[in-house]
Amino acid sequence: MAIKKLGSQTILFKNPPSIIATGSIVGPKEGEGPLKNYYDVILNDDLKNEKSWEKCESKMQIDAINTALNKSNLTEKDIDYLFAGDLLNQIISSGFAARKLAIPFFGLYGACSTMTESLSLGAMAVDGGFADKVICVTSSHFSTAERQFRYPLELGNQRALTTQWTVTGSGAAILSSEDKGPFITHVTTGKVVDPGIKDVNNMGAAMAPAAADTIVQHFKDSGFKIDDYDLIITGDLATIGKGIALDLIKKEGFDITSIYTDCGIEIFDNKKQDTHSGGSGCGCSAVVFTGYIYKEMLEGNVNRVLLVSTGALHSPTSVQQGESVPGIAHAITISNKKD
């Protein structure tokens, strides 16, 4: 019997896993953004002495993991499972990172929602008694994503005002069955919602309904009131998607305006850094969570957060064949208290 399930899409953990350490690494542009003081490592160049951007992205995952391991005085041998994902075809960044690490590996793909997907599954493994310690990690890289999903970097075209900037970065979190928190207390797994958007330059609009759906369902399932949260933060809806999500959630009777923001908005100064609508990518919610939010929670500045990573489940092939862009969003509650 699903004794830990609440309502239709939410889980309440009996032994909430503790996030004992995080590691965050970002590229130079992110390192100039408003959250620059929160990251563990800021790269000087986005190639990191590697031969290709793909190799660099994979190396960032390894470095994020090692940073988290060092902080918690653990080694690879102490970790039971690695839950990892990224945006590249066949998730090569994660697979090639896992190749260097002697940790049993689950490869995940949820587009940019992968960070909360990995934290959800990692937390379930720990709470379920299948693991004592797991690592959840994701990454993205501007240059690897551009060449896979869009155009060559040196092509002299103009970016639409609705486009977002893929974050170069990787964030890793170690979950443990024992420690003093912050804890993952709830997981709300999202359904795929397709609002029929075909414009790949407007991901925010494609993903906002999925985010709204998951957030509304989370409140219905968990019984939380809006005041119970200090912060609700989506993954990469950016400016356009944020406005839409707020509208849709308000229509369902929940006004979260005062405590809601988006990782894609927080990570860049859109005007100064010319990032148009904001940041995106698996790395966006990964580094904002493992860098900024986690440290703010340790300081006690925020005590309960709903992190909702958002993903667009399309591929260049599906777009060329005229398919719309379906959205997905997974929510996790992170709290300084176990209950």
Partner: protein, 146 residues
């Protein structure tokens, strides 16, 4: 949450997205595109001064412009120009050079055959196919009308 009516949602999204700055884009395209073309004319006059006839100058000018387009793409400057010039730097032949050199540079790591050579025409290819195609059709029509 209730199901979303895709048509209503599209109308709603169209209403809130920021509108492209058409006028500003047009002005920039006009200025930069005009400057590139004027520079082309300057090259034509220059090489004719050096003794090339009109037909030879019409061959030399695009060769020089293509070289410059490729060169500034290699230096990583042409995409910066394209950011505000838009069509002004895409439409002239320098933009065509940029569209071939940029994927060639991008995919060098995938090798010279399946990377550089295969990807080189990924953007310019459709322009060539339909450019050649339409010129053949126009040629045939012209043949029968004339």
């Amino acid at each position: 949450m209730k199901n979303i009516n895709q048509k209503d949602y599209k109308n709603y999204v169209d209403g809130i997205v920021p509108k492209p700055t058409y006028l500003k884009n047009c002005i920039w395209a006009f200025i930069i595109g005009g400057l590139i073309c004027t520079f082309g004319q300057f090259i034509t006059e220059l090489v004719m001064n050096y003794g090339l006839n009109k037909k030879e100058a019409a061959t030399a000018t695009p060769i020089i412009l293509i070289f410059l387009g490729a060169f500034f793409t290699g230096l990583g400057l042409y995409d910066r120009l394209g950011k505000f010039a838009g069509a002004g730097s895409i439409v002239p032949i320098t933009g065509f050079a940029n569209s071939i050199v940029s994927p060639a540079m991008e995919f060098k790591r995938e090798g010279y055959v399946l990377g550089v050579a295969a990807k080189m025409f990924s953007i310019a290819g459709p322009v060539l196919v339909y450019g050649f195609g339409s010129s053949v059709i126009v040629g045939i029509i012209y043949y029968f009308i004339d």
